[in-house]
Subunit: 352 residues, 2 copies
Amino acid sequence: MTIRRSAENPIITPAMLRPSRAGHVVIGVFNPGCIRHGDETLLLLRVAEAPVPRDDREVLAPWFDVETGDIAVKRWARDAMALDTSDPRVIVSGGRTWLTSISHFRVGRSRDGIHFDIGDAPAMSAATALESFGIEDPRITLLDGTYWINYSAVSPRGIATALASTRDFVTFERHGVIFAPPNRDVTLFPERVNGRYFALHRPMPEGIGEHAVWSASSPDLMAWGDHRYVAGARAGMWDDGKVGGGAVPFRVRVGGRDAWLAIYHGVRSTPLQYALGALLLDADDPSRVIGRSREPVLAPEAPYERHGFFDGVVFTCGLLVEGDRVRVYYGAADGVTAVADLSLDTIIAGLA
Amino acid sequence: MTIRRSAENPIITPAMLRPSRAGHVVIGVFNPGCIRHGDETLLLLRVAEAPVPRDDREVLAPWFDVETGDIAVKRWARDAMALDTSDPRVIVSGGRTWLTSISHFRVGRSRDGIHFDIGDAPAMSAATALESFGIEDPRITLLDGTYWINYSAVSPRGIATALASTRDFVTFERHGVIFAPPNRDVTLFPERVNGRYFALHRPMPEGIGEHAVWSASSPDLMAWGDHRYVAGARAGMWDDGKVGGGAVPFRVRVGGRDAWLAIYHGVRSTPLQYALGALLLDADDPSRVIGRSREPVLAPEAPYERHGFFDGVVFTCGLLVEGDRVRVYYGAADGVTAVADLSLDTIIAGLA
């Protein structure tokens, strides 16, 4: 695999950003959605902020209180009974799960695709009861002249996928929840397929079921049906744990035929690793897999991918294709943003 | 609460039915959908069948093999390592969950609503990869002259809700999965609300989230969106564990105003119990709860409700309303079908 990581990686780090509010610190800027906007590369960045504890005996969980319209902070003594803080992302207390940070979105703009101007103010942040633990992992799809943004709406009621739209990345309109919990890692196709909108999504059943990639179609982007199973984890391979959507799919020609290429994420169980691979999908029925990466197209190898807030993660929500170059923007170790150029021919050659 | 259980309860038991195939036994007939059809009461019954083991050292799991179009049987030695058979409904082996029985649907017809003629042949049975563990818990809604049947499609890929339709209960057309896994206990409203079809559904997130009642709306019954949280479990009450849909909602007048009444099921954690209660929902926005039962309207008290395949369960998928009489058909202890007449006035008086 020909992979060119930017020499300036990680290109965006928490140290480059000011927190959006007093008493908080930026702990992550990662998993950006990406699109060309005018002559700029535009990233919609997930920015995770955490309240600063008074001392290290305190454990905090921020949440958006829809009653007050403001962020509130839940506090525990670190040595409290039955407090599970083993996963840095969550706090489990009394059977309930809280997050240690709350994410919003900021816009980053760049001429060269490497150096981004990022404002201090959120472009979108938690605003509803279904977003009280924040909004995460935006994907941007241009359809009919409007930019459609789907994202994870996280709350004690579950992790759902919600939809918003914008024309200018200044004002955003919300359209509610399009995939009920537990469902995330949704990617909307940039064209209708047989007259219908099309998406990949990732239900998360436990017990009976698996965390796998499904498809759905829609007459209007708001209501989704005809859910089909597309691709699951593969025993003995790099994606043996679970799989889910990554970047927005794009059209390719392979062997003289049109198809869709979707960069997805696959989780290896042991040792735990989040890597990226490709699904080649039928042009007219994208629920049908016609090829899949034997090996990851990008796996955590660089130090900033192997070590960070959550070790061993590369995770993408957006990319730009130009000829053979697939420029993937991705979150590394759940903390920073990096970019790598992959070769489309090499990705296709690695499909089985 | 005025509850009149039929003196002939349970009105339908496995002993009344012949198995649909050799080598199998009917272990349950329960959770029927219900509707008036001509001058008859029609039940669409969930019939659970289990393969008969050669001896008691054997544990079996039936499944529909879409390749062969036939039921296959997975076999284990009962004393096999790492085999969990503690829940009579499932077998957990090597991290995978299997079911001990596979369900299909049969039609039952009755003039008096108590004595039903039930054929030996399935009306609908597993037919797709997403139904390989069977089809369960049908609900019937009459809309635009067609009977719409939603049901749980169970497979190793998860528990999803699928849609079928019929005009005669002889031939059925499938319309695919309308709610991606994990989602069951869906009820379709019998009228459009503000021009859109409307449903209650029950996502099943684990970790972050809860098993609660949500709503969704649709332009065409096939594609569903605008998912909203409606009602969750209530600490310290009879439904403190989880809640989900029950029978198809119906229109009522309360205090001179129209509203929807939905009989739902609530699970008490300790001791475990499945009971029924009512949600009163706004006529124009059924995602808005305006009343809810303080106590169950029907709880497992009769011997056939307290003891059976799975103890302590009353669970409804269908009812008939006539004046003040709400005739609830329900599964008891996950094994038999019973019927009880409740008073609508009493249900409404018990709302808070």
